[in-house]
Symmetry: C2
Subunit: 661 residues, 2 copies
């Protein structure tokens, strides 16, 4: 199969300089994207486009280049370049890559060229003569790319004899002829509206040069030749000669070939070093059986075999990390969840209130889902007991009194994945029953905290409640409900936990008032309650007078990981629902057989007051004991009636309970 | 209440140098341990023991010292020290500490001293005169200790007038008398068998000194006086004078007091600077109502108030981290799970096969449980996609081709908690269907790997199977079963997972062959199967020819955290069971209504072969296709019969299935 390649001791046989494949990193990058997002497990051949350049200085191999743009077959081709279309066979496994039947692939492609020659289609569109095959396997975990190029060339049954050895154009053409040639070529390109005509015919006299497309056969055949060797044409001529033999073999015995070389010499365009020679066209067999073909590229060792590039070494590591993180996520869409809308997840801005055991685990799971925008709020410092349970902190973070959790969490996320966009706010969240009006200074700090929290909630899409007290969840619950933000709430017991979403009220204007037909079936998202909806005691100061085991969240260590992970998975599932936070809650028989109670309305009274009165309402809540919120929401009345019911032991009174507040 | 303390412009009133409390770090450390392990939420007063030293040089305050040994009230007292017993009131909360009724505590203790004086008990055991109260709150999260000492002293209704002002002993005693005094004191101590007699009586002539216990009243009263002031006695004399007034007030008007000071001067024992004075004893009221008392210590600012020490700043941070990590765990035992045996968990040696997504999460949860001994086995390097899902790795670990997971995981654990004892083995686990006999070198590597794995499994208590292929779990399953080690296995799907324990065979000798009465009820631990028990295909090479999404564990990111956490919680629950790995599996109706099948016996045939033939059996497994293991375990026969059953559609044949292999 190498008989037609260059061999220095045979001067009478025409030999061709083969293409060298030149695959740019941009090509592999784009292949990676296509594989991840479009092809996935699809192994069917894909049409891609490369090009060869006719402007290289002497010494460079004849390159067939594939770059970023290879997958855009209708896109533009660079100046002085001829496009070459090819078929990409990208296998799913290295084994499939190795096992691919190279012979069959080459024969298939050669047959198409042959048929285009036979039918005359190649005459109209000679670029079909310059097709290629690219067999690849992309190991996207390691950024190793295995590939093997083939530039199919049909082989005449016998060698091509050189009648007139190659001469440099300027030795036989006058300067006038040369400039006429250049002008003629450019005119042809302009006429065809392309950057370079790969093959053409030429007729010349002492005074002039005329040029035409292949269809108009006259005298000299021209090839836009990327080869830089003075004694050999490049590969594009090979299949052209077969075409000539087929088309005009009966009329022609010897054909003159111009290897049109469109170079730059000392800053000036130079075609003087184009090459002219004559070759005898062998006869083709009488039958129309496809000729033998060659074309698989040798590897850098000179052997027949594939090549491999390891792009992980030359890529920017941070860029590499970003691609790799996307990889696992995108793989989900290949087979398991093709409809998964990853962009919805990745672009969600998450506000984590609490950067402790739950906060750290939620942040880690969000990172696993590729979420880029994570903001922490916490006012605590890292203590020595934290690192073994709070997976964003280490021993070093505890020294010297401990770093602030909110900012240390941000530092850690950046160390895990430099592409993350994380922020930390070392601030307190004002709480009911934790008075703020001791002094003017304290009050205005609380006011600033409320304003900051409102701003943060506005700027995010999902609010996670991950604090260690009940009352610290109150203010963000109210603000997020008012701003119609999705709230995911997680709380730990010793071996129990709650992970829930808060109901998302319809926007005030568009709420259509859905009829209550669903009271005993599925609950629409806008009718779901919040963390406080089932409480019969308003939140107050739960930190006062607590023993050590009540101060620390004493829970089985595995619990925070489970609850944190579930909170994020809940968020993802809600985001994937077509109605988002308004998604209906699935029916559960156990839960739904109880009639909904008016307690479900409690927080909405609070919401009304917050939206009407703002901070003046909030400061009343912070400074009051339980009774203020309990009076407001009707819980006081509830308690009175419950007590009355207990005293009287009258079930009727107890039933009234659900209609009174 | 300060009227009897030192005031330089009053020379005629006797004033006493109060004790200064001296609490050593060892005391707080021991209090921490007692609180965590014994007292927990118990706030009842505890008897503790301090001492005062009679050897201090001039200038030091009179210290009442509590150290490590304070909780051992029957333990020895250091030389030249008098013991002082006290009551420790350790509150659960800072609020309780603040709210404690200091007046009532003092009065209670003063009353007991008074009653001991009244009854004469103080005469027999005068150490009751030197009691103290210690009120504490230990914030074990921050290592802040709040405390307030009280040295109750009964107050005479009027001031104590000095009749003969204090003189230094050597000014009035001859050297002979001094040495006789010293000899007499030492004899008394030897006679009583204690290091120091706190109070004594003395009779002296020009030639000699005689000494006796209080019961034998004669002339001069001696007090073993820790005070270094030349003009004032220390606090121990105060209650003694009340005792004297009560006992001999009617006989005595003026009492001579020797403040026996047992110092070292220029390397020699020196009692020359003891102090002698006479004081007029006031009359006690006729009624037996307890005298007023004083005694709460001033804080360093000179005000009446508690003190606080922050030990977190002076403790070795690594030691601090260890204590803090234990804290959360021990808190579980205070209220929630008093019977929890933490030592069983903490001392368990865990072998983690796989340091990927599952391995990292399992290790983190083990750290949360305080497990100290963790060993990783993995042969992979950290890639860019790992850190966001594998919580022991960071971006930096991926650079330059990636660190080895097994050793990087160890580094991270040490960064999280320096007290951990972790090891990493960067090695492969030989697998069925992954041939090892390509060359002599490869074979011996596999043999080394088997030997290493056998050694590792022997040295650990629990083996976690956390790999990403099914067949890599096969060898450790067999070895661990043979060595009777508890195996916890976790495996991930996309949104499903398995977390299970393997059955733990009874040791060969002691297996009593429990009758099969439990076939349809709870399954005892030694009858449980392993990961491979329900399989109908033997493990083989599942990595060959896999597509990218099959190579990576494509799963919802939260899943590994959930499965990893559950695997550890399962281990902890098993360890807490009185029968450990032999614990019965709880009944589940769904599962138990199916009859157990003979498939449950499959791995035990494998086990027999492994125990008989060792590596020669294993190398057959590694090098063979599925069929070797399937033939051995009867799965081949099962498949044939299943096929036959499917062909014949005869349910009888299908039923035979469960009795044939």
């Amino acid at each position: 199969p190498y008989c037609n390649e260059i061999s220095p001791h045979l001067y009478l046989k025409l030999q061709f300089a083969p293409f060298s494949s030149a695959l740019e990193a941009g090509f592999w990058h784009q292949l990676t994207q296509k594989k991840l997002n479009d092809y996935r497990l699809d192994e069917s051949p894909k049409c891609i486009k490369g090009y060869y350049y006719n402007g290289d200085p002497v010494g460079l191999p004849t390159r067939l280049t594939l770059e970023f743009s290879a997958f855009d077959v209708d896109g533009p081709t660079p100046a002085r370049c001829c496009p070459a279309l090819g078929m990409l066979y990208n296998t799913n496994t290295l084994d499939a890559f190795k096992a691919a039947d190279k012979k069959a692939l080459l024969e298939k492609e050669a047959k198409e060229i042959w048929e285009a020659i036979q039918s005359g289609a190649a005459l109209k569109n000679p670029s079909v003569l310059c097709r290629f095959i690219l067999l690849t396997f992309a190991d996207l975990k390691k950024y190793h790319f295995y590939y093997w190029f083939c530039f199919p060339a049909l082989c005449f049954p016998e060698a091509l004899k050189i009648i007139q050895p190659p001469v440099i154009l300027e030795e036989v053409f006058s300067p006038k002829q040369i400039s006429a040639l250049q002008e003629a070529y450019d005119s042809l390109c302009i006429k065809r509206g392309i950057t370079a005509v790969p093959f053409f015919l030429m007729k010349y006299t002492d005074d002039a040069v005329h040029m035409a497309l292949l269809e108009d056969w006259e005298v000299t055949v021209g090839v836009y030749d990327p080869c830089t060797l003075s004694q050999h044409p490049g590969w594009p001529l090979r299949n052209l000669l077969v075409l000539l033999a087929k088309q005009w073999g009966s009329k022609l015995d010897v054909v003159e070939v111009l290897c049109f070389r469109d170079r730059t010499l000392q800053g000036n365009r130079s075609i003087q070093h184009s090459v002219l020679f004559q070759v005898k066209l062998p006869e083709l067999p009488n039958n129309s059986v496809c000729l033998k073909s060659v074309g698989w590229e040798k590897n850098p060792k000179g052997a027949m075999g594939p090549r491999m590039v390891n792009l992980s070494e030359c890529m920017d590591p941070k860029r590499l990390a970003e691609s790799s993180v996307d990889l696992n996520l995108k793989l989900m869409r290949w087979r398991l969840v093709p409809s998964l809308d990853l962009d919805k997840v990745v672009n969600t801005k998450c506000l984590l209130l609490g950067a402790g055991t739950l906060g750290c685990n939620v942040a880690r799971t969000l990172m696993g889902w590729g979420v880029r925008h994570i903001t922490f709020v916490d006012n605590a410092k890292i203590s020595y007991s934290n690192p073994v349970r709070q997976p964003l902190y280490e021993f070093e973070d505890c020294l010297g009194g401990g770093k602030s959790k909110a900012t240390a969490a941000v530092d850690r996320l950046t160390k895990i994945f430099p592409g993350v966009s994380a922020e930390g706010y070392n601030m307190s969240i004002p709480m009911p029953g934790h008075p703020v009006n001791f002094s003017q200074a304290t009050l205005s700090q609380a006011q600033k905290d409320v304003v900051q929290l409102e701003k943060l909630i506005s700027e995010h899409d999902v609010v996670f409640l991950l604090m260690d007290t009940r009352e610290s969840r109150w203010l963000p619950t109210v603000i997020a409900a008012s701003k119609r933000k999705l709230v995911v709430n997680a709380a730990l017991g010793f071996d129990t936990f709650v992970v829930m979403r808060h109901g998302l009220k319809k926007p005030p204007v568009t709420a259509p008032g859905v009829p209550g037909s669903s009271l005993f079936s599925n609950i629409p998202g806008h009718k779901l309650g919040c963390y406080f909806c089932n409480d019969v005691v308003a939140p107050g100061d739960s930190t006062r007078d607590r023993t050590l085991d009540q101060q620390c969240t004493v829970s089985r260590p595995g619990l925070a990981m489970i609850a944190g992970a579930l909170a994020v998975e809940l968020m993802v599932s809600i985001l994937q629902h077509s109605e988002g936070g308004y998604a209906v809650a699935s029916s559960s028989d156990d839960r739904m057989n109880e009639p909904p109670t008016s307690l479900g309305l409690v927080p909405h009274q609070v919401l009304d007051h917050y939206e009407r009165e703002g901070f003046s309402f909030l400061s009343k809540v912070f400074n009051s004991s339980h009774s203020f919120l309990e009076d407001l929401t009707g819980l006081t009345l509830l308690h009175q009636e419950t007590q009355a019911a207990e005293v009287n032991h009258k079930p009727t009174l107890h039933q009234n309970l659900f209609h009174s507040s």
